[in-house]
Each structure stands twice: as C-alpha cells, then as structure tokens.
Subunit: 259 residues, 2 copies
C-alpha cells in the first residue's frame, strides 16, 4: 500500500454492482487511494447485522478501473470488519458508504446497511460518512450527490476530525440549479408505518410482504426531513452511545429502590 | 383478546425454542396476557435488520402451555412489526425481549437482535426492555434473571412510563446469594476486536470465520460493563434519536461555510 496518500475505504449496502457506489468512487478517486470492499448482493435493510453462524467469502474483483476492489458475501458491517483485518491491515483514513439508492434520513438510519457500515467504521475510530440520494431509480442522476460527497470528503481528509465522526448525509432528488446546499440537522422523529400484505401461495399457505407509508411526526424545523423538503442536503452527526441520559435521570429520581 | 389484562408481547433473537424465551414467559405469565411472536430460527447478531426482498411466514405454534405463540421466518424486528399488524391489531402494553443467551451490554446492543426488537417496539411508543444473561449455555440458570425481569416488568405495568422507554438489562452469571441487585448505568465504550480466521475449503477456495476478543476501553465507574463486573445487573436506558449534539455544535462552529 502506498502510504503517501490517504486511504479511503468505500462500501455500500446496494451491492458492488450498484450505480451509486460507482458514482461514489468516481467522486473521490483523485482525493486518495480508494479501496472498495462491498457486498456481492443487495443488503438493504440489513441494519447493523453481522455474520456469526456462517463463514464469509471475500473475492478480489475488477469492478472499477484502476481501483482495488473486493466483494464479500456478508453484510455491509462484515465488509468493514473484513476490509480492516484482511485487506488494509490498518485503519483507513476515512470511510465513505453509499451512495445509497433511496433515503436514509430520520429513523431510517437505524435500518440502513449503508449507515451501519459507516457506523462500524466510526466505532473503530475512523471518521466516516454515509450518503443517500432520494431516488430509487437505477438510472438516478448522481451529479448533485457527487458534489456533496466531494465537498465533505475533502474536508474530512484535510481538517482535523473528531475520532468517532459519523455523518448521515441525505441528498434531495434535484438538479444542480434547484439544489440549495447543505444543512446541519438533527434526526427527525419520522418513520415508516408498516403493515403486511397477506397473500396465499400455490399450496394454500399464507405469506406476508412488508409494505408501508412514511409518516413525519416531528414538527421541528431543524430536522433532516424538513431540510430535504426545502431542497437542502441534510447532514446529521450520529453517535453510537445510545444511553438516554434524560430517562436515566428520570429513573434515578423515581426508581430509587431499584437502582 | 381479553382487554381487562395488560398485553405483554414477548420476542427474542435466539428463536422460539431457546430456553431463554421460555424463562421469560414463565417469569411474567401471571402479570398479564402474554403473547409470544419469535423467530423460527436463531437470529443472533441480526441488529435492526428487516426483511424487504422476500416474503415472511407466520405460523401459530404450541410452544408454551396456555400461551398464544407464533413463529416467524423473519428477523426479531420483523416479529414485532408482524405482531402488531397481524396478531394484536393494537399496541401491546409493554414489550419484553429475551432472555438472551449471552451479553448485550456496551456496544453489543447495536448488533443485538434482542435489543433491536425491543427498540422497534419503543419506536412505536411501546415501553420495552431487552434482557440478556451473561451465560451462553443452553442449560443456563435463569433464576436471578427471572427475578430481575419480574421486578422491571411489574414496574413497567404498574407505573406511568415514558412512551419511548427502552431498557437494556444485562444480568451477571451469579447465584442468588452472590447477586448484588440492579444498577442504573450508561453504555460503556467497550467492544469486540474482531479478526477473521482464514480457512480453505475442499475445493481450495478461501473462507473466513469471524472471531474476536472483548476489550473495554472505558475507565468510567458508571458503565454497564463495570456494574456487571461488580456483580450487579446493569440497566441502561436507550434512545433511538442518534443525533450527536456535541459534534453538531462543533460543526456549527467550524463548518460554517458548508452549513
């Protein structure tokens, strides 16, 4: 490995053949030594899943011209773990995940393989960011998203970052002319209200498909959902210490005999 | 459904046949109307994964005497979603997950299917708790864990709880005589340092098993890891708003031109 240039680890959850990861590689490949380690199949909705009960495969592939790239049979989080132990043999300077096809704002970040991969790197002390474009299309236009990626990656590489920096960046589906820029936000209390579509298989046995609609219950004007609606890319700093200190204080007062 | 008694939804990630979920049902079955909806196979390490690309199966089973129980082909989070939409048709009064075979303290909670199921319920506004015993054995003694479960479930049912209450409860592997009680804690910065065991299959192709050792990098005396070492059960209130307000403030000061 060429140690004179910063190492940029790239992964995603849509799989190594998704257009979004190609757009991410293109956006940053001149900023450092890019190494791609990504799932060999789509892993959307995998959250922070890891593979314990089965072994993993890891194969060198020739997916991006001039870029070392590997595909892994595991989850996005597995990719980050394997990259560090078996490919890089060191921490990369930064980790970028995405560009996801579809939103990972608000509570969606908890279900997102894209964000969980970035979180895994942040836990390890690697400044990280996950990027998502609000466009599910295979033919999505990543122009604005690439501009956002490049701006953030440049800053992450050239300024001193907090060790556990983790950014959840969502980009609206807009042309460059209509795009308003980036906005620092908090996570909205907004989520999918799911129900299940009941069907019957050819053998008469029931099965269920998850379906849902997105509901925003957060009236705040400083949320990621609000920023996206206004035409901004939302930037939410994310933490992995999930302690709820407010409820902890409440319990300290009211659950005395228990604790 | 008998509406005069509180409804207690029970799930886990070790699967419906694990001794831990049986111990949980036994501990609370007289406190309300218990309904079990749990995975039909082990789902450890699944984190907050949901099933999007394939349909789900849901079958009524006769696993616990006198208790309505269902097994689901999906993840722990799928179980909670399906339970609400297709079985309960309402919010349960509380949701309890576990008793997990093995620890889910510190950063482990992020990878844990047990805790993610409880978090899914908490997101929905159902006061919830996940319970884990620090004993992987199939023949683990759940006596102390059941005492802890019962104490917390009683309080959750009989006092006014915050709508999004979510408790991560870990119980040490101790006899009743040695057990010190419960302690309110924060999540430790402690995690598994993983590497991968490289092997070669009979066809000469490499594969990897995840292995690791647990490392505590947190010197605080108020953490879950510390409480467990001292012989207490750790109780950590958990949140799902992952916004890092400290880094948000830092970015607000230093990333001015970006945001």
């Amino acid at each position: 490995m060429d140690n004179s240039r910063p190492v940029i680890l790239i992964t995603n959850d849509d799989g190594i053949t998704a257009p979004g990861i190609c757009a991410l590689v293109e956006a940053v490949k001149d900023l450092g030594q890019v190494i791609v380690v990504a799932p060999d199949s789509p892993q959307s909705g995998m959250g922070h899943a890891i593979t314990i009960g089965t072994p993993l495969r890891l194969d060198k592939v020739d997916e991006f011209e001039g870029i070392e790239s590997w595909q892994c049979s595991g989850t996005p989080v597995d990719c980050v773990k394997l990259a560090r132990d078996k490919i890089l043999h060191r921490k990369p300077d930064i980790c970028l995940s995405g560009i996801n096809h579809g939103a990972n704002h608000s509570i969606n970040l908890i279900y997102s393989g894209t964000m969980s991969a970035a979180m895994e790197a942040a836990i390890e002390g690697i400044p990280s960011a996950g990027f998502s474009l609000l466009d599910f299309s295979f033919h999505a236009d990543f122009t604005v998203a690439q501009k956002v990626v490049r701006s953030i990656a440049n800053r992450m590489l050239n300024e001193k970052m907090p060790e556990h920096l983790l950014l959840n960046v969502n980009i609206p589906k807009l042309t460059e002319a209509d795009f308003k820029g980036m906005k620092l936000c908090r996570q909205a209390y907004a989520k999918w209200e799911e129900n299940f579509d009941h069907r019957v298989d050819p053998r008469g046995k029931a099965y269920y498909w998850m379906v849902g609609r997105f509901v925003n219950m957060d009236e705040g004007t400083d949320t990621d959902v609000q920023a996206l609606e206004e035409g901004y890319a939302s930037v939410v700093p994310v933490k992995f210490d999930l302690t709820d200190h407010q409820i902890k204080n409440w319990m300290h007062e009211t659950w005395k005999e228990l604790v």
